[in-house]
Amino acid sequence: MGAKEVEAAFVKLLDEKGVNAVVGKRCDVIKTGCRGLCANDVLVDIITPDQGRVTYDFVKPEEVEKIIDEHIVNKTIIEKRKAKPYYNQFVDAQMRVVMTGCGQIDPDSIEAYMEEDGFKAIEKCIKSMKPEDVIEEVKKSGLRGRGGGGFPTGMKWSFCKASPGDHKYLICNADEGDPGAFMDRSLLEGDPFCIIEGMMIAAYAIGCDFGYVYVRAEYPLAVQRLQHAIDICYEQGYLGKNIKGWNFDFDMRIKMGAGAFVCGEETALMASIEGHRGMSRPRPPFPAVRGLWGKPTNINNVETFGNVRHIINKGGDWYASLGTDTTKGTKIFAVTGKVKHTGLVEVPAGMKIREVIYDVCGGIANNRKFKAVQAGGPSGGCIPSDILDTPVDYDSLIKAGAMMGSGGLVVMDETTCMVDVSRFFLNFTRMESCGKCVPCRIGLKVMLDILERITEGRGEMSDIETLQDLGVAIKKASLCGLGQTAPNPILSTINYFREEYEAHIADKRCPSNCCKELLLWQVVEDKCVKCGACKKACPVDAIVWEKGQLAWLDKEKCTKCKSCYDACRFMAIE
């Protein structure tokens, strides 16, 4: 949001003042900076020989002149505008491996990438390693698929390598459809060359000569930057026939998705590339045996490819020294929702969820109480406060009833209703179901109807059992990952927050005051501190308030939009 304007202002003014400096592209136009700290863009780093690196946040184009005059020309740091200590805390508590380049280098420049040891890893592979050695190194690193399933990457590569066939395909899955996760987008926008190199290494190891990157069409900037990077690679001979005289061929193309969540599932993704409806098919045969156009195909996630070059450069043993016994390395999480500092966070696997939320991201916003964190998107589950010390690795999260998924962590506070969240996810998965198999297509619809009834105060006690029975059946009987995991959010919330379901059904009340049909629309006089925040928030003037007086809600005028409810920091509206 406005980063382009800020950059333009810097370029223009620096030019006018004759200052020698290079303006790097650090943030993108839609404000989610590759830095990870999305909520505080536009971030600007000024690096001078005297002061080192100083970061300013919330920079607006009109402030640029002042920053240049005082900081660069007069060499005084504008203390007032500097990012507050939380910024350093946010950065220092993390461990950046995959995201080292993101936010530090210009994603449009191959020279910037070369300075960061770009294409050294692929060179090392081709010149001094046999394909088998590369796979062995990746196996040794313990890297597991970052798309969510967590299948060991080295193993996957060796299966595809072992499949007979003269023509093999490599696919990078960038169909990041999970609402609440955006690390793939940031990687593609922030360090596209790193992904290309990761794919080249995989192609060399497996013996693929053609790669596709399947990107969501909702990510136009990612597509544009990646395409730009691919074009440069072709120009400079890093892609194409006989790359750099190494006797290695690899071609790459971007394939744009068209808005279907299920296309993140590998068989549906391949159907989509072939130009069909993105419907999944039963496995086996697995893609490693019969994949794209019937040829052996290897599919990995963007983040997985992002790890590869670091493993080759620093060695599988180094990578395996990070993380826990079962989950090696680091993992990027997108922490969003009701947390103070939302953004992308890369931490070593095995860090406790509590540390991620409180130490890195600053805890819960607006002085409210933590309720749960939703991990794994529509396929995952909720983790309540009493097991917040669960480490973030594949197996612990599954044990807690959630899953790693692609790494979205949506933090929920006491104003979030767990029944409503379940309904939200189910509504999403039902709409995105491809409709091929019955349990998913019809079962999810039936579950959604029940949940809607409950949130409207028309639920029955037996509904909870029915939801559980249906959920288990759908999980067992569905064809692909979408249906097999879609009931998870419901099952996990029933498990941890059964009392909320019961309150909706028995008392016809929503304990979090979230479900509209069950709200009373009145001000709780004991809790109201007469601040008037609700009046300012109300778009239809339905709140009557004078300075020093209790607020009063006019039900005639109220449109039940809940703006006042969110504005009130004292939970005084129910």
Binding site: M1, V29, I30, K31, T32, L37, C38, A39, E176, G177, D178, P179, G180, A181, F182, R185, A217, E218, Y219, K255, M256, G257, A258, G259, A260, F261, S272, I273, E274, G275, H276, R277, G278, M279, W293, A334, T336, G337, K338, T342, G343, Q374, G377, G408, V410, M412, T416, V421, F424, F425, F428, E432, C434, A537, P539, C561, K562, S563, D566
Partner: protein
């Protein structure tokens, strides 16, 4: 192309220049799996996929029209009807949902008098709910064409609609 002329009168579609579609098809004709890029390229040109063009693609690529319509109706990003000048997208992903996206959606419905995936009769607005635009840090989020509006409130909806009501349609 006589059959497409018949369809045109039947469907009451505006005059459509098929040669634009042909140019896109020519670009991809020799690539395997070209149906999606062709449809995407053609939609970029017309703003939607007109019926005559869909049938024309079927003929040029030698696939059944049913397959084309199967693909068109499967993916959310293909449109069979003309779209508005301003496309309003409101993110209803998880982060936006917990931060209050539903009331933003409802307010837009109220203001514009259209529902999800509908277009106003004057072709000024098309409204869409979308799942995650990937900018969860600024939830709840709305987009009008390429402009992003973060931390949306009901009041901001009024401002946005007032602003775009004044902009020219062409």
């Amino acid at each position: 192309m006589s059959e497409s002329v018949e369809l045109k009168t039947e469907e009451q579609e505006p005059e459509i220049d098929i040669s634009i579609a042909d140019a896109v098809i020519d670009k991809y004709i020799n690539i395997s799996g070209n149906l999606m890029p062709v449809l995407q390229g053609i939609q970029d040109e017309y703003g939607y996929i007109p019926r005559v063009v869909a049938d024309h693609i079927a003929e040029r690529l030698n696939v059944y029209p049913s397959q084309i319509y199967g693909v068109l109706t499967f993916y959310a990003q293909f449109h069979l009807k003309p779209r508005g000048r301003f496309i309003i997208r409101v993110c209803v992903g998880t982060a936006c949902h917990v931060q209050g996206a539903p009331r933003i959606v409802e307010t837009f419905f109220d203001k514009l008098g259209i529902g999800h995936a509908e277009t106003t009769p004057d072709l000024r607005y098309t409204f869409e709910k979308v799942a995650c635009l990937g900018a969860c840090g600024m939830a709840p989020l709305a987009m009008v064409n390429d402009s992003t509006y973060g931390s949306m409130t009901v009041q901001k909806v009024d401002d946005i609609v007032a602003d775009y009501n004044q902009r020219p349609l062409k």
